[in-house]
Structures are given as C-alpha cells and as structure tokens.
C-alpha cells in the first residue's frame, strides 16, 4: 500500500507542477499578447464624438464601443504631409526597398560568410576583426555622413518630382552595410563538414562550382533565414530610414518613417492615433505571416547563430 501511495504522490506532484506550468504559460502568453491585441483593437475602433466626428486620439477604454474599418479607409485615402493618398505610396516604396535589398544583401552575406568559413587566405583574421570593431561604432554619425555622401551624388534629399532617387539611395545604404553582418551565416557554414569541400576539390571542381553546386543547395535554411532578415529589415527599421530619407519628399518615405511622423512629426496630430494603429496592422500582418510561415528556418538560424555568437 505504502509503495502505491508513494507512486501516487509522485504522479500527483507531477500533475500539480504541470498544471502550474500550464497556468503560468497561458498567463504569460496573454501578457505578451495584450499590447498587440490593444493595437489591433484601436485599429478597428470607430467611436464618434458628440459632433459626429471620428475620435482619433488615445481613448481610455480598452474595449472599443463601436467597431468598423473607417480608420483603414481614412488612412489609405487620407492626406498626410500635403500629399493625398500617400500611405499606399509608403507601402510601395518599402516593398521595393525590401525586395531589392533582400536580393543584394542575401548574396553579399552568403558570399562573405562562405569565404570566412570555408576558404583559407591570409587576410581572413584581420577582416573579421575589422568588421567586429567597425560594428562597435554607434551608427548615427556614419548615418549622417552617408546622408551627405548620397546627397552629393543626388540620391538623397530630393524633392517630390524625383523622389524615387531617394529610394535608390536608401537601397544602397541598406545593402552596403549588409555584407558586414555575416556572423550568423558563418556560424551555419562552420557546421557544414569541411570534408565536403575537400572531397569536391579532389575531383577537380573550382571553388565557385563547389559554392554554387554543393554548398548552396545544402544551406537552404540559412538562405531563407538571411533572406527573411533582409526582407523584413526595411519594414522594421525606423531610425536609419528617418535620417536618410526623412528630410526628402513625403512621397518617398518608408512605412515606418511615415507612421512615426503621423504621431511625432512636424505635422503630427493626436487625432491620427487610430489611423496609426490601422497602419501598424497593415504592416504587422504580412510580416507576422511571413515569420510564421518561415518559422522553422528562423528558429534554426537563431540557434545556429547563437552557438557561434
């Protein structure tokens, strides 16, 4: 009997600890979700004040009294910073920057990471140390210098009629710095057995063929991880874009700069809050969808990267 009781107590203690863990996990998940849920709620809030005007400001009740999509309509057709229907332009700009930057950066990061991980040449250690040291500088001052550099070749601070030049400038600025961020990809290539490279070299393939035919097909996860990171970069980044194109015409801003300037810019207005929330939902959903879809690769990239740091 005693033996059974001991067994039962162990089992009931295990159940108790599991119940508590479930309770803890559900509560923590809710805590993590509440702010995000609040933004989504504010996006669909269409309460009206006594004059029948839409209340746009920060309202104090967590649950909206009236739901509707008026904020999204106002956002897409609204005139901000003197330009009518500018929000879709912001989305188009960011999409262009994201796609082009994704292509260039992925190529640069993978090529540098492959060299650092698999090829032996005398400048390898100094290059690694140099990139680490350059990475320690706070980015602002170099952002200002990049702005002056781009402006002197006409790729920044343009007025509305050639605003697309600003976008080309931003793409250059984003993808140029990408090559330095090779550490995570290098971590992944390190794990690939170098015997693969040796054996391929024995039967006479050139380095390029090894990279293109053998290594790349094997490193699908890291390609997707790098592509995902460089595609979501322009959507997430705010301060770099604000310095480089923040002063140019509003037509060429990216979504993050545009949304920030709705609340804090020169022509910001407290009544734009619900439209800001609608904008966040428009930006958030595609990116979250992408993350969820590519979650397996993202997790692999993070763990591979962390091991090598």
């Amino acid at each position: 009997m005693k033996q059974k009781k001991v067994l039962l107590t162990i089992r009931s203690r295990a159940i108790l600890s599991r119940t508590l863990s479930y309770l803890g996990l559900v509560t923590l998940s809710l805590i993590w979700i509440i702010p995000i849920f609040w933004i989504v709620l504010s996006a669909f809030r269409t309460e009206v004040n006594s004059d029948g005007q839409l209340i746009g400001i920060v309202v104090s009740n967590y649950f909206p009294k009236k739901f509707g999509v008026q904020n999204f309509i106002n956002l897409f057709q609204g005139q901000f910073y003197g330009v009518k229907g500018v929000f879709p332009r912001w989305i188009l700009n960011t999409l262009i920057v994201a796609v082009v930057d994704c292509l260039i950066s992925t190529f640069l990061v993978l090529s540098v990471a492959y060299c650092m991980s698999k090829l032996k040449f005398k400048m390898r250690k100094p290059f690694m140390n140099l990139t680490m040291i350059l990475g320690l500088f706070p980015g602002f001052m170099s952002m200002i210098a990049i702005y002056f550099l781009l402006k002197s070749i006409g790729l920044a601070g343009n007025s509305a009629d050639n605003a697309w030049l600003n976008i080309v400038g931003l793409i250059l600025a984003y993808s140029a710095g990408a090559g330095m961020g090779f550490q995570v990809a290098k971590g992944f290539f390190d794990v690939l057995p170098s015997s693969l490279v040796e054996s391929a070299k024995l039967d006479g393939c050139s380095n390029f063929k090894i990279f293109w035919k053998i290594i790349l097909p094997l490193s699908k996860p890291i390609i997707i991880y790098t592509a995902l990171m460089s595609f979501t970069g322009p959507w997430m980044d705010f301060i770099f874009a604000k310095v480089i194109i923040g002063t140019g015409a509003p037509e060429c801003w990216t979504v993050s700069v545009g949304l920030y300037s709705l609340l804090f810019g020169a022509q910001s207005d407290v009544n734009f809050f619900t439209q800001f929330a609608a904008g966040c939902v428009c930006v958030g959903i595609p990116i979250v969808g992408l993350f969820m879809f590519l979650q397996k690769y993202y997790v692999e990239g993070v763990t591979a990267g962390a091991v090598k740091g």
């Binding site: 599991r18 104090s60 967590y62 640069l108 250059l172 600025a173 090559g179 330095m180 958030g284 993070v302």
Partner: protein, 512 residues
Amino acid sequence: MDNSINASEKKPNIFQRFGRGFVQFWKDFGHGFVNFFKKLGSGFKNFFVNFGKRFADGSIGTKLSHFIMGAGSFYHKQYIKGAIFLILQVLFILFMVMCPTVNGTPYGWKALGNLALKGNPGGYDDMGRLIEADDSTLFLLFGLVTIAIIILFIIVYLVNIASSYKADQDEKSGKKPTSFKEDWGNLLDSRFHILMLTPTCIAALVFTVIPTIFMISMAFSTYNIVDMNDATEPYMKNLFHWNGLTNFIDLFKGKTTLGHEIGARFFPVLGWTFIWAFFATTTCYFGGILLALLINKKGLQFKKVFRTIFILTIAIPQFISLLAMRNLLNGNGPVNQILMNFGWISKPIGFLGNNTVGDNPYLAKVMVIIINMWLGVPYTMLMTSGILMNIPTDLYEAARVDGTSPIKMLFKITFPYVFFVTMPYLISSFVGNINSFNTIFLLTGGGPSVVGGTYVAGETDLLVTWLYKLTIDNGEYNTGAVVGILTFIITATITLIAYRNSKSYKEEDTFQ
C-alpha cells in the same frame, strides 16, 4: 567541444576572473601594441626592399610598369589586362588633375587642400546678388573620398607591378604567362575569395569606413550649428574649422565653451548606460532561459503553440510594439484611466517619465527595463530551447541515478552547459544593449528631462540616444562625435576583454 564540467573544482568567482582578465588584457594589449608596431616596421622595411629588388631584376616590362601601368602586361602580351591597368591610371590622373566638382565642391587635388577647411563664407554683394558659399561638410567628405581613391589606386598600382613581375618569373621558368581568360578562370577558383569579397569591401569602404572617419574627424572641429548660427560675423554660418582637442577637454572640464553643462551629464549618462546594459542583458537572458525551461518541460503538450505566440512579439516591428506600449501607458491612455477610475491615483502617473515635467525618473527606468524584457525574452527563449534540446541526456541519467533532486540537476547541469554555449551571445547582447536605441528613444524619448535644457541628456538617455539628440535634433555634431568616440572606446575595451576571456574565443581556431 568538450563539455565535461567538473563541478567539484573550486571555480574562482566571477569578479576574480574578471579582475585577472582585466590585468591580463592590458598586459596583452601592451605587448600586442609593441609587436604590432614591430611588425609594421618590418613590413615597411621588407616592402621597400622587395620593391627595389623587383625594380632591379624585373624585365624591362616590369621596370616600365613602375611608371606606365600595364606596360609589363603589354610586354608579356596580356593585352586586355594591360589595357585595363592603363585605363585605370589615366582615369586616376584625370580625376586628380581635373578636380570634378559636385554642388560647387571639387574632388581631386583641390579637395586635399580644402581639408584644411578654409573655405570662403559667401554672402551678398552690394547689388544684393548672392556670392556662392563653400560648404565645410562637403570639403571634409570629398577630401576623405579623394584619400580613399588614392589608397585604392596605390593597391592597383602594386597589383600591376606584382602581376608583371609574376609574368617575368613564369617566362623565366618556361611557362606561358597567364592569359586574361585564365586570370578570369582562377578568379572563380584559387582567387575565388577576391571575387566574393571585393563588392563587400568596396561597399564597406564607401558606406562604413569613410562615414566613420568622417564622424571621428568631426570631434576635432567646431561643427556645431547652434554656435555657427551664433557666430559674430554674419556670414560664417556655413563654415567650421579644426579646433584640435578643445571639445574633449571641455567635455571633461564639465562645461563646454558654449557654457552649458554637457560635460556634467556625461558620467551620469555613462553610469546609467552600464546599469541599463547590465539589467537589460541579465533580465532578458535569465528570463529567456526560465521561459525556455518552462516550455520545454517534459510531458508538456502544445509546446509549438506557446513558442509561436512568443515568436509573435519578435515578428511585430519594434517601433509598432514600443509605440503601442507608450500609448498604453500614456497620461490619458487606458492604464492610467483605469487606475484613476478605481481611485488608486488622483492624477496620471508618468510611467515612462514623459507625461509632465518632474516625473519620477526611477519609475521610468524600471518600466523601461520591464518593457525591454517583454521584447527581449522571446529571442533568448528561442535560442536556449534550441540548445536545451541537444544537452546530452546521459548527463541527466547519471545525475538521476545518484538521486540528485531536479533543482540540483538544474544548477549542476543545465545552467553551466547553457552558460558555456551562449557566452559569446551574452557578450554581443551586452554590447548590443549599450547601443540599443529603439527601446529608449521610442518609449521615453530620453525620459524625464533634466534641469539644463533640451539637448542635455534626460534621465533615461543612453549615450546613443543622447548622441541622437545632440547631433540630429540640435546640430551639435562636434560634441556628439566626442560622445560617439568615447562610447566606442568603452564598448571596444569591454568586448575585447570579455571576448578574449571567453572559452569560445580560445577554441574558435581549434573548431575550424
């Protein structure tokens, strides 16, 4: 990587190790510095020696290529390569002599002269017509670009000599010098790394090295829009010039020449930056590990569901979630309103210190660290759950056999293993938190303002956000550059000390 952890051996505690590491670092630094210069010296010495040797016993082609680039290649019938070298030389000479001008500022040799920053202030003549003014920022920038182009040209010049010298050796030993097609071929094979690294190196040079040098040089100039606007002669508004170390001296004297106490704020901000980096790193790190342990608990179902929920916060762009938090805790936002309705508070609490003047700075600092946890924990959780999976289970079996309790197992096996593996991440995240701009800028915008003006750092300002306020908000580029350089020196020393001490650095090479 061996990971047999002999828990029994008495480990020196963390501070002793750090102290010893610190002393060791400066010893290494000293003799590293010395042999760096020794190497540099010998490098130069044998550079000139073999430069002379090459000139002496090279063929006529090699001798000629010292003056006309590509001559060596033409001599060895590598026509395309020779043509490329020649065109590059001609372009370089044109660039240096003709001084192409952009926005009224010249490149070429004039740009080198302009580096002395002695431009003409411009203004108006008596007819009210505008006299074009020079722009010192472009002087500085174009000067640096010209220097960079000169360095690139020297490298090409040396490659040209080396290639013709190599062609001489080939001919001497009977081999035919490599044709252009072969050169291109071995770019894809033996010299593949050159092909792969050149785009990144050029991009890094143009978009990282030159801007960083531009920033550093601003710290030794009078580039400060507020003072330039305050200049006595009306037209000295566009020009700034070198003023040596005065900016650094003023900063430490506690008062800059402009008379406001930027210097007095430097050390408090430095202190808070360290406190912030320490707490932000540790809370996210341990929070992440505990969450990972909770999620990966044996016998728990729906692990994937919980993990996806936490990934949600990483997927949402930071500026959205941070601005959402800011509005949630806003003076008129839901949280304050609920507390007021419940009667716990009479007027809104400035949670993030940006509600009214005189908000409580400590509350703002604590709230910022907590909200940073909300952002940082999922990432660490993700990383640790990956590592937890590949802890060898035989360790746990052995421990369970000799009856250690689950908690003891945790401290004796799980934690040491995770620490060892994530040490490099810990260091990079500590440095990352010192430079973490978004959380502070978007949440508190520098927090409750301190007596002494808008561009003196606020209570929760980090060095980085203060740098933003100084430069972009108020145009004090020289003081900002000084703060930028000091931030770099501090982060560099910490990273190098921690990196050299960490086991992974020692094993980095063995792993290859």
